[in-house]
Amino acid sequence: MVAIAEPVGLYTQSEMMVISASRSLRDGDVVFVGVGLPNLACNLAKRLHAPSLQMVYEAGIFDANPERQALSIGDPCLAAGASCVTAISEIFLFYLQRGLIDVGFLGGAQIDRHGNLNTTVVGDYSHPEVRLPGSGGACDIATLAKRVFIIGRQSKRSFVDRVGFVTSPGYLPGGGRPAGAPGGGPKLVVTDLGVYDFSACGEMRVRSLHPNAPAEEVRNKTGWGIEVPVDVTITLPPTAQELRILREDLDPNRYYLKGEQAP
């Protein structure tokens, strides 16, 4: 359910990104949550239309109920008050590999047109131009979750035709999933410019553009010739309630929405 828009003032593109991502989560979803932007989106959904959303964290937490903003994936506020705290092994074996995760929500990656993610390395593996942190749980989540959502700011460097290193698999060229991967693969990509999904051929396509995101900018910040339909849907702008919860309750110090002051 999407909250009906009341007129609001200004908002940033990052706020629009987190808010539109939160709307894509359903009440009752069991979500494997990455820290940062995915965490904001999940907590926002839980406060609004998805109160029975259950948040799972790779640190070994099922059904977190944090009383403050988590600054890391193992923040004590995620363990305190959770339904279950268990070993990391069990989270991956019994929750993720067992098939209990509806949505794997990942952030902060370089993504290609087939939804493959790179968080490992830019350039040669042995002599990298940029060494990134690596997989963490992302490869496992991308392989095993029923649906994978990805959130991150869009640029020509982050939205590429083909990633140089596949850390976490999306679709093969032509549309299939890699043989053996039980999960459903990427279903949704949310950026500061728009919302994307995947065609039957496993290729990313525009689902909606955010207000204030011109088609020209979207094309310029996409590393392949992405099609923007003339009659493209425009994302509903944030409601006052969504903005208030995000700004006042979830990220009051602009820790994750940094670099952008609330207008």
Binding site: A79, A87, F92, S135, D140, T143, G180
Partner: protein, 302 residues
């Protein structure tokens, strides 16, 4: 039972040797920083360091020149950015790396703990990780022919952990996140545990479900209050998020890193001295409001 209690300097001196494979675990929670600093002070060299998230603790060990090889699955400063000593060492080609996903590396320790040669997982299909790490091997299940990947067992020479409490026999209790500490302990030949408190055996026996690691496999227990700072100990002190932010600046500049290691490790001979230097007030500010669980009734049977 043998009394396992000793001091940190003696424990590290006796049980950690140059060239060892060492796992120091604790996922965000209970990261054994005090023990790592003692390893740096004792100038251990050529260590193979194993950890899901190298975190600041291994960035410090790498920066201090203790590490030859890193086995890991996510090398960043959580919630902040990069580990710069790690990145410099990879860029310079002075650090050998072997990387997995969290699931894969957790299962390596799991297999080691269970004395199995490998663990099968449904993972790595379509990922380039097996291409750069030949230890991750595809195989076909002998039951029904499914494709799976195997990760090999790892059996480190020594596991080093921090915990809330233990008794003098080395029975260790942890609450809050338990990460892969149990797997790391059972996989390793020697286990050293630093704790916030050493408690009488009766405290442990009154709540045996909370015991994560039995004294059976523990070589040494050291009382080191605040031994996990700047990470946290659930119920004792919060994570020092400010320090994680500051590490970004410190580790980015090799000279600042060197100065920090000199001031806070080499010239700060113990965790007690570290706590004094940091100031009790700053640590007390990290203490959470107490919030107790309901006691459970185990019953008495005699």
């Amino acid at each position: 039972m043998i009394d396992k209690v000793t001091n940190l300097k003696a424990a590290m001196g006796e049980f950690v040797h140059d060239g060892d494979v060492v796992v120091m675990e604790g996922f965000t929670h209970l990261i054994p920083f005090a023990a790592a600093h003692e390893i740096i002070r004792q100038r251990r060299r050529n260590l193979t360091l194993v950890r899901l998230t190298p975190d600041l603790i291994y960035d410090q060990l790498i920066g201090a020149g203790c590490c030859r090889k890193l086995v890991f699955s996510w090398a960043g400063n959580p919630g902040v950015g990069s580990l710069h000593a790690f990145r410099r060492a990879v860029g310079a080609g002075t650090l050998e790396i072997e990387e997995y996903s969290h699931f894969g590396l957790a299962m390596r320790l799991f297999a080691g703990a269970a004395n199995l040669p490998f663990m099968p997982i449904r993972g790595y299909f379509g990922s380039d990780l097996p291409k750069v790490n030949p230890a991750i091997k595809p195989f076909v299940s002998p039951y029904g022919g499914e494709s799976l990947y195997a990760v090999p067992a790892i059996m480190p020479d020594v596991a080093i952990l921090h915990a809330q409490r233990a008794d003098s026999d080395g029975n260790v209790q942890i609450w809050g996140l338990t990460g892969v500490q149990r797997e790391a302990a059972f996989a390793s030949k020697r286990v050293i545990v630093t704790v916030e408190e050493i408690v009488p055996g009766g405290v442990i026996r009154a709540d045996p479900n909370r015991t994560l690691i039995p004294g059976l496999i523990v070589s040494a227990v050291c009382r080191v209050p605040f031994g996990a700072h700047p990470s946290y100990a659930m119920g004792y002190y919060d994570r020092d998020a400010e320090f994680y932010l500051r590490w970004e600046e410190i580790s980015r500049d090799p000279r600042l890193l060197e100065e920090w290691l000199r001031d806070w490790v080499d010239e700060t001979p113990s965790r007690e001295a570290y706590v004094e230097r940091l100031g009790r007030a700053q640590l007390e500010a990290l203490q959470p409001v107490p919030h107790y669980s309901e006691p459970v009734n185990y019953g008495r049977y005699r």
